[in-house]
Structures are given as structure tokens and as C-alpha cells.
């Protein structure tokens, strides 16, 4: 079950595009929006990240930082990002695969992330979370802005 509002964000370690660790500590001091998506290059994920990216200025205006999270390896995420021409920083949950997704309660039984959104407050507390009914469903970005 996905982490719920009011809970502390779990401890985790993801990898940045540069291969550096990205942990819970990196979320502190800012409002973060974790966008869990199933697969790089899948059509649905493509639309979702494209639209979110077009609204980055609005996220910035609300002091919120977006991160894309998937179980793809970093090179795949980087290629995906470059192909789309987006600026959303990508974080990889490739090794150990799905560990962060499991910690957030969004690991699909098929071994990939559910399509889910988690807003984490600057103090590391989950402000809001949402999991789509199925990985093929796209959560509107309006749902995030309702909470920012």
C-alpha cells in the first residue's frame, strides 16, 4: 500500500543520472514531487512526463521540485529524457531493483513502479500520495497542484 499523508517518507537510495546516491536526506528542505512511472519510452509515460514538463515553471513558482522515478537503468532514463527533451530529473531504482518503490508501497507485482505520485514536505513528511487505478491510467497534473 502506498505511503500515506502524515507518514515520514521512508529511507531509500536511488541513483541520479550521474550515478550518485539520492536518499531521503536529499528531499529535506524543499517540497518534492516523486513521479513514479512504469517504463521509460512507454507511450503513456511519454505523455505524462511531457505535460508535467511543460508546467515546470508552475512547479517552480510553488517551490516544488519534480523527480521522475522508475526501475529503468540510468542510461535508459537519460535516453528517454533526451528523446523527450524534458528537464525533469530522473532517479533510477534499478539496483537493487524496485527497493525504493517497495519502500514507498508502489512496486507493482510485475517488478515495475505503479503509476503513482508522492509529495514530500521539506521536513520529510509525506504530504499527499496518489496511485492510479492501473499503470495505464494517467493522473492529471491538476491533482498535484490541488495539493501544492
Amino acid at each position: 500500500m502506498i505511503v500515506e499523508a502524515g507518514q515520514p517518507a521512508p529511507d531509500f537510495t536511488l541513483r541520479t543520472e550521474e550515478g550518485e546516491p539520492f536518499t531521503r536526506e536529499h528531499l529535506l528542505g524543499r517540497t518534492s514531487v516523486l513521479v513514479f512511472y512504469p517504463f521509460a519510452f512507454s507511450p503513456v509515460c511519454t505523455s505524462q512526463l511531457s505535460v508535467y514538463n511543460d508546467l515546470l515553471e508552475d512547479f517552480t513558482a510553488r517551490s516544488a521540485t519534480l523527480y521522475g522515478v522508475s526501475c529503468d537503468a540510468s542510461p535508459s532514463q537519460i535516453a528517454f529524457k533526451q528523446q523527450l527533451g524534458i528537464d525533469i530529473e530522473q532517479l533510477s531504482d534499478f539496483e537493487p531493483k524496485g527497493a525504493t518503490c517497495r519502500a514507498f508501497g508502489v512496486l507493482h507485482e510485475g517488478g515495475f513502479p505503479q503509476r503513482a505520485l508522492v509529495i514530500v514536505d521539506p521536513d520529510g513528511t509525506v504530504r499527499w500520495s496518489h496511485q492510479a487505478d492501473s499503470p495505464g491510467d494517467l493522473p492529471g497534473v491538476n491533482l498535484i497542484f490541488d495539493e501544492l
Partner: protein, 160 residues
């Protein structure tokens, strides 16, 4: 709540482009999206009242914004639907010279068309359409509202 928070589908207004008679279909579309072209083609053959609203997705479709602005610029000369049809009819040619050629073929004042499509007013109309779509939950194209219910993505084609 921010200005991009959830809101109901905006009712039809004077800035909307509407054609046909019958069941109302409000489409959020992108002129570079091939599934939008298919949907548009199917709707044109049905007895529906279609409202087309812009939802250009820049990252996936780099010419979607200029194309949407071209349609709005044509609207200023009473040729929105003519440009709309011309854009969907040939999605492989959406660069600036192709837009000028369409305007010329449609008999528009090309200079006025080109100034309009680059204007702040036209950009603001497209942007307002995109953001209104975001507020009512649109996140992909094509998306269509049937009887007020959102049907997102290519699956909407199953309804027509």
C-alpha cells in the same frame, strides 16, 4: 489551491470553436498527434457537435504549439476550421513555410496571419486552452469529453 488545481470542464463560450450538430463532444487535441487526426476524421463523418480545444504537448510534438497558434491566427480571418482541417490533413508538414503556404492556399492575408500567429494574444489563447485542459484532468491527447465525462488517450477512438 493553485490556479492549476482541479476545476470542472469549462462550458462552451465565445472563444470556443464549434461545428456540427448533435451530441456534444469537447476534444482536447494537438495538431501533431496522429491519433488526434484519426479522431478528427471520424468525428467529421458523424452527427456530432464538436468543440476543439488546444492541448499542444510541446515535448512530444515540437510543432504542436506553432500549429495551434496558426489555427488561432487563421480564426482572426474567419478561417479556423479551414486551417484546422488543413493542419490535420498533412501532419508531416508543420514548419513555418508550410503554415504560410496553407494560409496562402486558404486565401488569407499571409502577412496578417503571420503577425497574428506570433502575437501575444494568440499565444495567450492557446495557453489558456492548455491550462484549462490541465485543470479538468487532461494529460494526454486526444482527450474527449462525452456527456461531461473525460475519455483520455487513444482509447477514445473506441467510442467513435
Amino acid at each position: 489551491m493553485s490556479e492549476l488545481g482541479s476545476a470542472p470542464l469549462i462550458p462552451l463560450g465565445p472563444s470556443d470553436h464549434v461545428r456540427g450538430e448533435g451530441r456534444l463532444v469537447v476534444v482536447y487535441g494537438d495538431y501533431e498527434c496522429p491519433f488526434c487526426a484519426v479522431l478528427d476524421h471520424r468525428l467529421a463523418e458523424l452527427d456530432v457537435r464538436m468543440c476543439f480545444r488546444h492541448f499542444p504537448v510541446r515535448s512530444s510534438h515540437p510543432r504542436a504549439w506553432p500549429a495551434a497558434c496558426a489555427a488561432e491566427a487563421a480564426a482572426e480571418q474567419g478561417a479556423f476550421w479551414a486551417m484546422h482541417d488543413a493542419l490535420f490533413a498533412d501532419q508531416g508538414r508543420l514548419e513555418d513555410p508550410h503554415l504560410w503556404a496553407r494560409a496562402e492556399t486558404l486565401g488569407l492575408d499571409v502577412e496578417r496571419f503571420d503577425a497574428a500567429r506570433r502575437s501575444d494574444a494568440v499565444l495567450a489563447r492557446v495557453k489558456a486552452s492548455f491550462r484549462a485542459g490541465v485543470r479538468c484532468g487532461v494529460v494526454t491527447t486526444p482527450s474527449a469529453f462525452l456527456d461531461g465525462v473525460l475519455h483520455p488517450g487513444r482509447d477514445v477512438l473506441d467510442h467513435f
